[in-house]
């Protein structure tokens, strides 16, 4: 059964007095996979950050509703606790905090339940193996000295462990080799089920192979200029954004 999960109405947002998102409306139901396409600088990453509540961006108009509740005034940790997750395009390196420590603390915060250390470790190890990550990485500082591919896998690991209702994936596949994209793609399809949803920014159709895309939105200059089914991906891949931009 489907229910409205995310509903964005006429969203305007920007940073330092400059409007980047210029009136976006978007709706995602449980069980769905949505894809956002758009040229560089069109505001895709900004949109993701605004949905997640990045304090560097100001919402000037419109609202973001999650499960029927307006969350535009909530802090990022409150949004995470409601079931949002952002896989960062360039994940931060955080010295001194291990992957395990981050995830256990986050899982406790998100679920509100104490995580027994051994049970948690077991779960983490299993998940890491599934993503073909060396379990030794659990003891390493978050993203410090990780390669591009390892950072992205670490994002997927966090998504799977925290099990959000809505996953925002910001170019999780960019800069990865074929095998790494496969692993990430498998991770996303493992995560996705009828009770959650994904909103994906990508330049790469390979990550979508194991997923059934419900809706595609084309974002240009802070506005959604075209929407459609999965066939739109093909169309863009063939002829680029030029045609759409002309309209």
């Amino acid at each position: 059964m489907t229910a409205k999960l995310l509903e964005i109405e006429n969203l305007h947002a920007g940073a330092a007095g400059k409007e980047i998102i210029k009136g976006i409306s978007l709706s995602v139901n449980t069980g769905e996979v949505h894809v956002i396409l758009g040229p560089n600088g069109s505001g895709k990453s900004t949109l993701m950050n605004v949905i997640m509540g990045h304090p560097g961006y100001m919402v000037t108009e419109g609202k973001i509703c999650f499960e029927g509740e307006d969350i535009s005034g909530l802090r990022s940790f409150e949004r995470a606790r409601k079931g949002l997750f952002l896989s960062f395009q360039t994940p931060e390196e955080i010295p001194g905090i291990t992957v395990e420590n981050l995830l256990r603390t986050a899982k406790q915060a998100v679920t509100g339940k104490f995580q027994r250390i051994y049970a948690f470790r077991k779960e983490l190890k299993a998940m890491m193996e599934e993503l073909q990550m060396d379990p030794a990485y659990a003891e390493r500082d978050v993203n410090v000295g990780f390669s591009g591919g390892e950072k992205k896998r670490n994002e997927i690991l966090q998504m799977l462990m925290l099990d959000p209702k809505l996953a925002l994936l910001d170019e999780t596949d960019s800069g990865l080799d074929v095998d790494a994209v496969q692993i990430v793609s498998r991770g996303v399809s493992k995560f996705h089920n009828e009770n959650n949803a994904c909103l994906i920014i990508t330049h790469n159709t390979r990550i979508l192979e194991k997923l059934e895309v419900d809706r595609v939105h084309v974002l240009i200059d802070g506005k959604i200029v075209e929407e459609g089914g999965p066939e739109l991906i093909e169309k863009i891949n063939r002829s680029g954004f030029g045609k759409i931009r002309e309209r």
Partner: protein, 468 residues
């Protein structure tokens, strides 16, 4: 003007006749007299040479001016020194007299009841006393001497006479001279050749028993190929009501010996902590310093390592956290005198709520110390715009066959790192605390577990305003 530094005054100081200043200092300190020193000496039943030493130190104390650099210590009333050193001076007699702020800290830290009650003196030393005696038995079986300093002066007079204030001579600086004149209490440790002391020795067992004050003397001698971990417990029961601490630590690390000296200082916020710590390291020896400075109003603390023998090594790990009203000037000095000596200095400083933290260091490589290596890494974190942080290292190198590297960074927690953590559902204060704990991780790693936990708790208290 945004920045008022004292250098105008400093110019004058360098130009004026220094003796002028001495006289004025002398006047304000008339309180500390030869009579008082003789009185202390009598009460301690000092041998003649020690009385002599005290009196000569007093002379030096009169002569030496206050340093013309470092934090402002003008709030220090030198006249009060008389009060501090007067035997039977005002120490907290029992738990009820301990200020609420300190009690609350103990409560939040979860300092065991036994240690806490030991503050109240005789009544309740049962637990630590038992532990202490057991440790004492194990150690004496190995020939290790571990005793309070007054006892050492009498029972191990020859050793004390040979080493006492040879490494930190009273002429070193004004507070070393003061220490030489009025020292009281402290620890004496002698580890014989080849003996490895497995359990860390914690000074507060001793200090409670001795009822030591703020001029305590620590003398540790590690003979050839021995090893020891000594923990100076300044965080818990060493609370006191007076406001000057001028202790002295002298460490002798002989050939092939290893000594780790750990301290977490959390003095009450009215304290001027002007402590002198120095280690002399012989061939193939290793001194490891782990130093955490959290408390006090003013701290000047720069443990120094004199790498005297070939391939002698120094590892220094320090963290300083300066909050409201604090001016913590900390760091290290290393003097490399022999070929193949090496040093690693790794520090983290944090300033918050108007606190000032200074990292100050000196690395000296003498002529002939060929193959010397020294790496310094210091990072400073500012948590708000009211605080300040200064980094002032000096490298003084007199030989070419060296590898000297120094790196320092200053800045604040990145907003992006906070966003990353909060986007995972972690609250903002906790995210900040996690990052700060991560920042001091290199130090926490070097500490015994219970001290690492304590340090984390101190950070949490500063950042989140409480635990849990």
């Amino acid at each position: 003007m945004e920045q008022k530094k004292t250098f105008v005054e400093d110019i004058e100081r360098t130009l004026y006749d220094i003796r002028n200043e001495d006289r004025s200092v002398y006047k304000t300190e008339r309180g500390l007299t030869e009579e008082i020193i003789r009185d202390i000496s009598r009460q301690k039943k000092d041998p003649e040479w020690m009385l002599d030493f005290r009196l000569k130190s007093l002379e030096k104390y009169y002569q030496i001016p206050l340093p013309d650099w470092g934090p402002d210590i003008s709030g220090l009333n030198m006249d009060d020194i008389v009060t501090y050193v007067r035997p039977g001076g005002k120490m907290a007699g029992n738990w009820q007299e301990v200020p609420e702020e300190i009690k609350a800290t103990f409560d939040r830290l979860g300092i065991p009841e036994a240690e806490r009650t030991s503050l109240s003196g005789v009544g309740a030393q049962y637990d630590s006393e038992v532990v202490y005696h057991r440790v004492q038995k194990e150690l004496s079986d190995q020939g290790v001497i571990y005793t309070d300093f007054e006892t050492a002066v009498h029972e191990y007079e020859d050793i004390v006479k040979e080493y006492f204030m040879k490494l930190v001579p009273p002429k070193d600086h004004k507070f070393a001279a003061l220490h030489g004149a009025v020292w009281s209490g402290g620890s004496f440790v002698y580890v014989p050749e080849g003996v490895h002391v497995d359990i860390p020795l914690q000074s507060y067992f001793r200090l409670n028993a001795a009822g030591a004050g703020q001029f305590e003397h620590t003398l540790i001698i590690c003979e050839k190929n021995s090893s020891l971990h000594f923990i100076e417990g300044c965080s818990a029961p060493r609370y006191n009501v007076t406001n000057l601490h001028a202790g002295c630590v002298e460490l002798y690390v002989k050939e092939g010996a290893r000594l780790r000296y750990s301290t977490i200082e959390n003095w009450s916020r009215n304290m001027m902590n002007l402590n002198t710590k120095r280690a002399l390291v012989e061939k193939d020896g290793l001194i490891e310093w782990v130093s955490g400075s959290f408390g006090s109003r003013v701290s000047c603390l720069y443990p120094s390592s004199i790498l005297h023998g070939e391939n002698a090594r120094c590892e220094f790990t320090g963290v300083t956290f300066a909050s409201r009203g604090q001016d913590l000037d900390t760091g290290a000095t290393v003097v490399m005198l022999a070929p193949g000596t090496s040093a690693n200095i790794n520090t983290r400083t944090i300033s918050k709520s108007g606190g000032a933290a200074t990292y100050r260091s000196a690395v000296k490589v003498a002529p002939g110390a060929r193959g010397a290596k020294c790496l310094v890494n210091c990072e400073s974190l500012l948590l708000d715009e009211k605080s300040r942080s200064d980094t002032l290292p000096v490298m003084d190198i007199e030989t070419d066959e060296v590898e000297i590297g120094h790196e320092a960074k200053i800045g604040r927690i990145s907003d992006e790192a906070i966003f990353y953590l909060t986007s995972r559902g972690i609250g903002e204060e906790e995210a900040q605390a996690m990052i700060v704990r991560g920042f001091v991780e290199p130090v926490a790693k070097a500490l015994p577990l219970e001290y690492a936990v304590e340090m984390n708790n101190l950070i949490n208290m500063e950042l989140v305003g409480g635990m849990g």
